[in-house]
Amino acid sequence: MDLRLDDIRLVYPDGEGTLTAVDGVSLRVPSGTTTALLGPSGAGKSSLLAVAAGLTRPSEGQVRIGGEVVLTPTTSDPDATRLRLDRIGLVFQQPQLIGSLTALEQLELQAHLRGKRRSTVRAHALELLDAVGLGEQAHKRPATLSGGQRQRVAIARALVGSPDVLLVDEPTSALDQERGTQVVELLTRLGRELDAAVLLVSHDAGTLGSVDDTAQMIDGALSNCRSGH
């Protein structure tokens, strides 16, 4: 299902005045494709992603998934939490794994939060860990995985609930260019295979060879140079 951002504005209180972090952004990410969001530091990329994920409510505008309006300025926290659980996968700049859980359990947690038995997702979780190249590491805890391996566990975790939308914030900033490129390729491929709309924030244009589309953000707005592949 497509992800659509309609005329999103996000204003932060800033001392006496306000700061417009996102200024009227509209964007469509078709399902099964990956769009990379580029731009200088402070352009508002993470802010836009936070709005799309329901971590922050937009000051104006709305977020739609498959045509259905899922987030507006007045959406409640529990509704946004439920939306993330059911329909959105998130990958953060840092892997943000839970230290006490094995790689497999990081994935099973998703099913547990949805009220499903862990055993019902075990096969799928192992498949996904295999797909990110960690089939052998399923029973390791984060402390015994490398940075790149952790980030791949985080990607598998974001996808285990078969979300409609996958939102990714600078997944490669902790990795070298080669591994970064591999991670973006992995995201693009899995997004296509699982038919998810992937929006991926990145600093690093050099890693984005595999994405379907890029958008450039400057000063809270999209600049008009969009390039389709």
Binding site: L55, R82, L90, Q94, S100
Partner: protein
């Protein structure tokens, strides 16, 4: 408790440490509670187990708390009490602690009673005494033997079934006439004297009005424990210690979970960002605390109760649900309050923080 259980296992060193504290506090609180009850029995069982429901005292000043040592009632008073509607029996009871000598000498408390009254043990007559088995043991005497109380000789006519004690001394029953004769509280010009009037009432009696008319202060046999000076001193200090220990335990558990929850802020933000509802996270955390508390308290209370049962007579402890399960439950509830207050900060964690690097 998907995450809570794994966190417990993962950070088992830290949890073991705080659980050990809970075990030790539970052990101490349970032991104190059993000791408090045990000492209370040794101080007052002869009063609380009297086959009556109320005791009427006289006090030196009006409004003062009743006190066995200073109370002194006369025949006028127990006869007046006997006439009160709703009072089915009003019997004089003399209480005084004195020296008793047979094979050995020991302190005993003499209970002077009318041989015919409900207060008197079977087989009591003038010139005779009835001993508790404990007293007989201490004195090296048995039925038929001779006991010297204040220079007067009495024959032991029977042993009482129960080992009742008063102010940590065994009880010796004798007739009120003999009790007065050994100079316990003298004889008044206006007739016979005793220490208190033991009342059997049916609930319809207006105690306050009768007290005002007769000039006595009447309390239930349970409340009369406070009139035994050894009981009040022990009970207050031991109960205060228990209260402090419980408060300390709640604070320690609260402090531990405060630090623990602050350390988990990152995880909590991530869990919320992944779609975990706040209510779920709170339950998870409280469940973890409950597990730790119930486990620690069960072990501590178990050890204390087990040791007390094994040591048996060596210590004045009373093992009962009231002295073990009740303090255990209080420790768990207080600990949960402390932990609950600590984990409430979960509600304030912003999932947005998961986007920031850490």
């Amino acid at each position: 408790m998907f995450v809570a259980l794994r966190d417990l296992r993962h950070a088992r060193g830290r949890f073991a440490l705080v659980t050990t504290v809970v075990v030790m506090v539970a052990l101490l609180v349970t032991f104190l509670s059993m000791l408090t009850a045990g000492l209370a029995r040794a101080s007052t069982s002869a009063i609380t187990d009297l086959p009556v429901d109320h005791l009427a005292f006289t006090t030196s000043e009006e409004g003062a708390d009743p006190d066995v040592t200073s109370s002194r009632v006369t025949e006028t008073e127990w006869e007046a009490w006997a006439k009160e509607p709703g009072v089915s029996a009003a019997d004089p009871l003399g209480i005084v602690t004195t020296r008793a000598t047979a094979e050995t000498t020991t302190a005993v408390t003499t209970f002077g009673v009318d041989p015919g009254s409900a207060l008197a043990p079977a087989g009591l007559a003038d010139g005779e005494v009835v001993l508790t088995a404990g007293a007989a043991d201490d004195l090296g005497i048995d039925v038929g033997g001779e006991l010297i109380l204040d220079g007067e000789a009495f024959q032991v006519s029977a042993l009482a079934e129960e080992d009742l004690e008063y102010s940590h001394t065994p009880v010796v029953w004798m007739s009120l006439a003999d009790w007065q004769a050994i100079g316990a509280r003298g004889v008044a010009d206006d007739g016979s004297v005793a220490t208190v009037v033991a009342l059997t009432t049916d609930g319809s009696v207006d105690l306050a009005a009768a007290d005002a008319a007769i000039g006595t202060t009447t309390v239930s046999t349970h409340d009369a424990r406070a009139a035994v000076s050894s009981f009040t001193a022990e009970n207050t200090s031991l109960t205060t210690m228990q209260g402090f220990l419980m408060a300390i335990s709640a604070l320690v558990v609260g402090a531990f979970f405060t630090v623990w929850t602050i350390g988990r802020q990152g995880d909590i933000a991530v869990l919320k960002a992944l779609g975990a509802p706040t209510g779920y996270l709170l339950l998870d955390a409280v469940g973890q605390a409950a597990l730790l508390l119930v486990g620690g308290v069960a072990v501590g209370t178990g050890i204390a109760a087990g040791a007390a049962t094994l040591l048996g007579g060596a210590l004045p402890v009373l093992v009962s649900p009231a002295t073990t399960l009740v303090p255990a439950a209080a420790l768990v509830v207080l600990g949960l309050l402390g932990a609950g207050a600590a984990v409430m900060r979960i509600t304030r964690t912003d999932p947005h923080a998961a986007l920031a690097s850490r």
